[in-house]
Amino acid sequence: MKKFDKDRVLVAVAGPVIALVAAILLTSVVLIASGKNPFEPYGLMLEQVGYSDVQVLIINQASLYYIAALGVALGFRMNLFNIGVDGQYRLGAMMTAVVGAHVALPSFLQIPMLLLVGALTGAFWAGIAGVLKVTRGVSEVVATIMLNAIATSLIGYLTLRDNFGVLVGDNVTTGVMKKSGWVPGIDLGEDVGEIYGLVFLAVALGIGYWLVLNRTRFGFDLRATGESETAAAASGVSAKRMVLTAMLISGAVAGISGLPLLLGDAHTYSLSFPAGLGFTAIGIALLGRNNPGGIALAALLWAFLDKASPALDYATPVAYDKEIATIMQGLIVFAVVISYEAVRQWGLRRQQKRVGAELAAAAAQNTQKKEVAV
């Protein structure tokens, strides 16, 4: 049995490793094609990890990615593709910022209340797609993409100065949030920066994700639905309720994915809030195989590529384009999709052969024994 566990680890690790190696090789090809040194940029980027201020940036960024990717992964586990994480995240962050700027409760109430606002907003937005799918059979992919666009317009409307918009300098914001809603971070000194307090929320969500999926009845139903809808239905899972619940939870998680930044640093929602987080999260969830540990590594890797690449522009003697990191991220997503499927099938076949071989061996032993007995 130990052997099989080793096998599973091998299968689990082979996919991402093959994908990463392939992505690095292909990036090097791009570098060679543009007449650059194909290896030096990696060294330059890795060097950045040594600086503590970059480390803080990476961790902070990764916490946003992580929460959003958990939201995506939750849908993936039951074959629901929530592309709307981006809209749910932006709307959730904006609504939280608005509420935070107008309501002032004591801190111990204000922060949970703000988290709830973000979660409910995200859940509501994703729930629209869920209800449409359950009642009218509308594909959640289409619905959530459209809801992303609608979220953009809605945010644009709500941040008009007639509504909740406040002009700060040249930037339209939602006004500075009340101090009681600010989440203190871990201050590592003037030069290094501050780790968001809600990084711990991200960690807690990761643990919660694992617990719910692997240790609860609900999680089992959800995974069963993802693995075989027909088997799940026969086992008594109500597909409709499952779709709606998964969509709501996915949206709720997505809705709070912007809050580490909002409550920890920005304290207002403005046009300069990071865009496209939800789309990045899809790639991260894929790379992390929807597994909370894997997603954490993937989120850190992504944040590293994001935060270490600007240094390439200022490298001496030869400067590189920081877009190399973007190319690499794109290639990783490609390679991941291909290598996972290949490894999955290879793993299944490998196990089938193993089981066949072991049973044959056992049978051979039995007959031998019998022969001896005779």
Partner: protein, 502 residues
């Protein structure tokens, strides 16, 4: 069939079209050779017109405008299909859609047509019309391969019959010299060990009472209707009109300790009956009482928790999570029950321990409980499922083809388990294509034909041949002399749920 149409490659053997040996690597190759296929589930886009559906994918043949329209009219007139090129497919009935499918194939220049279970979705008059079309095609020099479970239809429409059982050809027959009974014999075969149930253990305690159960076909089958995600509800509103009744006023009672066998050619309503009993499809009328309680509105989970065991007919689609380890498969379907769960939480340790017990007791051949279900052989998968269902002490068991695709040794074991549980008062609904299994295991036998329970029989005296002919719809009522006939025919009782709870 898939090989003929180029969807799958043969491992061995050859195909010759008009004397030339050919090999297909895709359906396009098959079409180029003049082989066309009409699938059981139609491949039509509802929101396009007939013309658009027909030219889709073969725009180069006759263009997409007037030329194609003319060609469609021409084909339609020549074979008497009566297809209007500009009608919207969503406005067409099932039979019309089927004719569009046939026309689509002819449009591509097919000379050999493969029809896969074409009558499954049709009402009798439509079947007659289809057969008229087929004869028309035949007289124009086309070849038709007609695949069907329904013996009577095969006999009436075919010029030559080939019987396939378990992947091999078991014989050919000429319809004019063959009776349905002989054909049934060929289909069923009788080389299997006969299961025998010794003494009767039937009690008078009714476990399951079904009254006037009626289910309509989900009308207008089109692409992927079967895969519709939400099994319940979405496909439900098709009732009314002239929708086909896939289950028509079915009434029966199963007592504790009784195995009731349902014989019937596949596709006569067995699947729908199972779905209605387990709750993945809701009855349009009628009532199901389980231990005196009306469970008709209950969801699947509540039914299973209250003691309905289920050995599904398709274990890969309904019984297992193929890529999950065995112990997770042991949880499937019983996620709310001990030893799999403690309240809200799962109990992996309990489930794993119990999986080891099942593996031991039911002789599931596996190196461990952490391997995926997909890596076991079919027989061992089935033993795991039987073990799982029996572990929860069901009071009523739906056993659909419990030994299909299972080797002889495992088959005997599974039969033993069912008999054992029956002695302890289990009520079993046994649905099987294996007539020997049905006769040997059942205490009472019913025959399902066209969604109705048309006949009943005493398994102690009936022969597979007699049963086979009843399956074709040739005989009805009570099939054996002696005993007072049980009310298999319940037409006099009409529909309308009667409250008989006690």
């Amino acid at each position: 069939m898939k090989i003929l149409y180029g969807m799958q490659k043969p491992d061995e053997g050859t195909i010759a079209v008009a004397g030339n040996q050919v090999s297909f690597s895709s359906p396009a190759d098959a079409i180029a050779r003049g082989i066309g296929m009409v699938h059981q589930h139609f491949m039509l886009a509802d929101n396009l017109t007939v013309l658009e559906n027909v030219v889709l994918g073969s725009e180069k043949l006759h263009g997409i405008g007037g030329g194609a329209r003319k060609k469609i009219r021409e084909i339609s007139d020549r074979y008497g299909l009566g297809v209007r090129p500009d009608a919207l497919v969503e406005d067409l009935g099932v039979a019309d859609r089927q004719r569009v499918e046939i026309l689509k194939v002819l449009f591509r220049g097919a000379t050999t047509l493969i029809l896969d279970e074409p009558t499954a979705v049709l009402v009798p008059q439509e079947v007659d019309a289809l057969f008229a079309n087929l004869r028309e095609l035949k007289s124009e020099g086309l070849s038709v391969i007609f695949i069907s479970h329904k013996l009577g239809e095969v006999l009436s429409v075919a010029d030559e019959i080939t019987v396939i059982r378990r992947g091999t050809t078991v014989g050919t027959a000429v319809p004019s010299e063959t009776t349905p009974r002989q054909l049934a014999e060929m289909m069923v075969g009788s080389e299997l060990p006969t299961p025998e149930t010794a003494e009767s253990t039937v009690t008078d305690k009714a476990v399951l009472q079904v009254e006037g159960l009626t289910v309509y076909a989900s009308g207008g089958a089109s692409v992927g209707w079967e895969e519709e995600p939400a099994g319940e509800g979405l496909t439900e509103f098709a009732g009314g009109g002239d929708a086909k009744r896939v289950l028509d006023d079915v009434t029966f009672t199963i007592h504790a300790g009784e195995v009731m066998g349902i014989a019937g050619v596949e596709g006569n309503g067995q699947t729908e009956l199972i779905d209605a009993l387990i709750g993945t499809k809701h009855a349009h009328s009628g009532a199901i009482h389980f231990l005196g309680e009306d469970i008709t509105p209950w969801p699947t989970r509540k039914r299973r928790e209250s003691g309905v065991g289920y050995i599904p007919e398709d274990r890969h689609r309904q019984g297992l999570l193929l890529e999950a380890p065995l112990w997770e498969n042991r949880i499937l379907g019983h996620v709310t029950e001990a030893p799999n769960a403690k309240g809200f939480w799962l109990n992996p340790k309990g489930a794993q321990a119990d999986t080891r017990r099942i593996v031991e007791e039911y002789d599931v051949r596996t190196p461990g409980i952490d391997v995926t279900a997909a890596s076991l052989s079919g027989g061992n998968q089935q033993k795991l499922i039987v073990g799982r269902e029996m572990s929860h002490n069901p009071k009523f068991l739906i056993a659909a083809h419990p030994t299909r695709g299972v080797d002889v040794g495992a088959q005997a074991q599974i039969w033993d388990r069912i008999r054992e549980a029956r002695r302890e008062g289990l009520a079993v609904l046994l649905i099987s294509a294996d007539l020997d299994e049905l006769i040997g295991l059942s205490d009472t036998l019913r025959v399902i034909y066209n969604g109705r329970l048309v006949a009943d029989a005493d398994p102690a005296t009936i022969t597979p041949e007699e049963l086979g002919s009843a399956m074709t719809g040739a005989a009805s009522g009570h099939l054996e002399h002696g005993e007072a006939p049980q009310t298999a025919e319940t037409t006099e009782e009409a529909a309308g749920p009667e409250d008989e709870a006690r």
